[in-house]
Subunit: 210 residues, 2 copies
DNA sequence: TTGTTTTAATTAAACGTTTGTTTAACTTTG
DNA sequence: CAAAGTTAAACAAACGTTTAATTAAAACAA
């Protein structure tokens, strides 16, 4: 698994970008072939079909997501809130670094009919929850965090806020006060704003006594 | 404006559902015509094109959204936090009652190329922000709310959390602990869970001293 | 009311493209 | 020489849209 040659990787990369920009059905295999500079037939030859190509795009990023989960620091000297902060920053970085993939996820999770891709999405979300829940519950048992918090909804808030911010970028970019920034500065500005907001939010609800 | 006959309304309603379920490009005009029980040509006849039909679906719901904004209670005897609570509940109700439209919004806001529909979305979001900001800033001036809160991001969190919850329903529904509920009970359970979570979240960040 | 004319609604069929996929011939590689 | 890679061309199916013919409704004059 995961041993793609240059041409295959080029197809996957271009497909990811186009699927993100115009949606799966809004992108034709001819679009992909042209931008990846390969013959149309190569897509079927390497991936079997357009649907299988989408699956390949997914599984490609999924490996990175699995790695992300596994390399979680098990540093027990860290305070619970610091762990949460670290988790938030890692989520933000990951999502801002793979915006195209996150766009596809946002789209595909809306499909009502079951599909391999849809199953993969919710499987991944379940794994992310398994990452966050023990941190919270351990801190709750230790009396550091408040007990009446819905961890599943908290993760939904984390994902939702970041996923909403991704498409909002193009609007924020047009604000006159952001006009002076170049792409790198703007990305950093966005990262900081998201990070600050989410950390405040999580600190408030996790440590605020009602 | 907004004076559609039964057949036109039927087309709009069916189109809204199918666009939400399978996406704009994933839905053919033949699908829509068949489910709405009209001839294919009637879609072009009434709306001009498939794109214009999507616009019609949008403008149709947009009127309701504008009405939603305007009928905001200007009750000044309400405490700021109560106003926020009321706003949250109204957002949740609105979004759960027009899930198909919210699905389409989630999808269409991801499109990178500018379009009339995309413009309408961000225009609407701006208006929602104009609804929430004065409540917060007034309470900040009065010393009731903390001052270091990013209102724009807070609205992003509100939208994002609800928008993430909509597709999550199908997964939640399969949980064994939710199997006993009928559709109405489940919808109420969802509404309550969202409401409780978001109110706690907003109260914590708006009143918690750092 | 009547018959007539104009407008709107509705239809099946056809339009020209574009779609995803396959074929069969060809080139490169090992 | 065999296997893998690559290509232009062709494939049938589906796409959004239009056409031309027909029916229904509305408007109007007698």
């Amino acid at each position: 698994m995961e041993d793609y040659n240059d041409k295959q990787l080029s197809i996957i990369t271009v497909a990811e970008r186009l699927f993100a920009e115009k949606g799966f059905h809004g992108t034709s295999v001819r679009d992909i072939a042209q931008e990846a500079d390969v013959n149309i037939a190569m897509i079927s030859y390497y991936f079997g079909s357009k649907d299988k190509l989408l699956e390949a795009v997914f599984r490609h990023r999924m490996y990175a997501s699995r790695a992300f989960i596994n390399e979680l620091v098990q540093n027990d000297t860290m305070a619970p809130l610091e762990k949460i902060y670290s988790l938030i920053d890692r989520f933000i970085n990951k999502m801002l670094n793979e915006q195209n993939f996150q766009c596809i996820m946002s789209r595909e999770q809306l499909n009502k009919e079951q599909s391999p891709v849809r199953d993969l999405i919710w499987q991944l979300k379940g794994e992310m929850l398994g990452l966050m829940r023990p941190i919270v519950t351990n801190a709750q048992d230790a009396g550091t965090f408040t007990t009446d918090v819905d961890v599943e909804m908290l993760l939904t808030t984390l994902f939702g806020t970041i996923h909403q911010t991704i498409p909002a970028q193009h609007v924020l970019r047009t604000y006159p006060e952001n006009a002076h920034m170049n792409d790198e500065e703007f990305k950093e500005y966005l990262r900081l704003r998201l990070s600050t907001h989410l950390k405040k939010l999580f600190k408030a609800i996790l440590t605020h006594e009602f």
